[in-house]
């Protein structure tokens, strides 16, 4: 059989392409850098972790005979003499979406070899992510002062606190790790390590702008998880 290149117009599209890709030697994911394929597989495992948390939350919420605390009242923000439901959560949602937008633009600028624009957008993404974590810390502090604990709360079903701290805590950890990675990547981009293909200090992998896209996948995933948490935990 003639050799099948990993790129170019010889790759078949559609279902025939799927079969020949998966049946091929050495690598199944044609045209995808291995680091990106591995990031996708990591995210796949992370999907399952978050899904287990959310399904567990659904389960305790269904099975408890006590009323579930109303999220729109619990997370209301007192502004101008009245309570505005879910205001902080809405702001956090917009901030995270904006950070996803700047990340997508950073990936695009990276492939266009615009070093400073990429670095600046990565820094902006990191700042938005950090402010998201800051607001989450504020939210946690407020709720803890109001007496929410993983085993009890003043409004209803005791499992509310456990689900809240577990799910938002795990998501916040992901955001924090993402912010650290963004800062590291921004430093690499700005000092020209990716353009010059210099090996990294930890893994010795040669710098390439695909790394920005791989990190972008992680960051968009964090935003993606928030979409589900926002819908299921705060709105449902």
């Amino acid at each position: 059989m003639a050799d099948r290149r990993t790129s170019g117009p010889t790759l078949e599209p559609g279902w025939r392409g799927l079969v020949s890709d998966l049946a091929s030697d050495q690598r199944a994911f044609k045209g995808v850098p291995w680091s990106k394929a591995m990031m996708w597989l990591f995210l796949l495992s992370d999907i399952f972790i978050f899904a287990c948390f959310l399904v567990g939350y659904m389960q305790v919420r269904i099975t408890t005979p006590e009323p579930w605390p109303s999220a729109s009242e619990v997370f209301a923000l007192h502004l101008g003499g009245r309570d505005i439901p879910l205001l902080l959560i809405a702001i956090m949602t917009f901030i995270l979406i904006s950070s996803s937008g700047t990340m997508a633009l950073a990936v695009k600028c990276g492939y266009e070899r615009r070093r400073l624009a990429t670095g600046g957008l990565l820094i902006l993404t990191a700042l938005l992510g950090a402010s998201f974590v800051g607001m989450q810390a504020f939210e946690w502090t407020t709720l803890i002062h109001e007496g929410v604990r993983p085993w009890s709360n003043p409004w209803g079903a005791a499992q509310f606190g456990a689900a809240f701290f577990l799910i938002t805590g795990f998501h916040g950890t992901h955001v924090t790790i993402g912010v650290i990675l963004l800062i590291v990547m921004a430093a690499k981009v700005v000092r020209g390590s990716l353009a010059a293909e210099r090996p990294g200090f930890l893994t010795r992998r040669r710098g390439r702008y695909e790394m920005v896209e791989t990190l972008g996948l992680y960051w968009h995933f964090v935003d993606l998880v928030w979409v589900f948490i926002f819908a299921f935990f705060y709105l449902w």
């Binding site: 790129s7 170019g8 599209p13 559609g14 392409g17 799927l18 890709d21 998966l22 994911f29 044609k30 045209g31 995808v32 394929a37 996708w40 995210l43 796949l44 999907i47 399952f48 899904a51 399904v55 659904m58 389960q59 269904i62 099975t63 408890t64 005979p65 729109s72 439901p85 879910l86 809405a90 949602t93 917009f94 979406i97 904006s98 996803s100 937008g101 990340m103 997508a104 633009l105 990936v107 695009k108 990276g110 492939y111 266009e112 702008y209 695909e210 896209e213 972008g216 996948l217 968009h220 995933f221 935003d223 993606l224 979409v227 589900f228 926002f230 819908a231 705060y234 709105l235 449902w236």
Partner: protein, 105 residues
């Protein structure tokens, strides 16, 4: 795609998706502000959520331009999670019914 070439798309599509994500988020926030209840609330929340997730995965994560092999590897396994969710919901309603029957007295 050759090495180093990467995903290249016009900037307009990113800005459009960004804008649409804002609109959809406003929509799902309005569901709470306007205090829709019952099936209307749940279906609206779900529709907005799935549209946002689809836009993020398809455009921001470039899934729309990937080959079918990686699309299937990423998107098919989470399908079983829907099954898990349905099973647990069924079981949960059963647990609630037994609790109300036997623990309420």
């Amino acid at each position: 795609m050759a090495r180093g070439e990467g995903q290249r798309h016009p900037i307009g599509i990113y800005l459009w998706v960004w804008f649409l994500l804002f609109v959809l988020s406003v929509g799902s926030y309005l569901v709470d502000i306007l205090q829709f209840e019952g099936y209307l609330r749940w279906s609206l929340i779900t529709v907005f959520m799935l549209l946002k997730a689809g836009l993020i995965i398809a455009v921001f994560m470039h899934m729309a331009w990937e080959r079918l092999a990686i699309i299937c590897v990423v998107l098919v396994p989470p399908g079983v999670l829907v099954f898990l969710m349905l099973l647990m919901a069924l079981e949960g309603h059963h647990v609630l019914a037994s609790r109300l029957t036997w623990l309420a007295q």
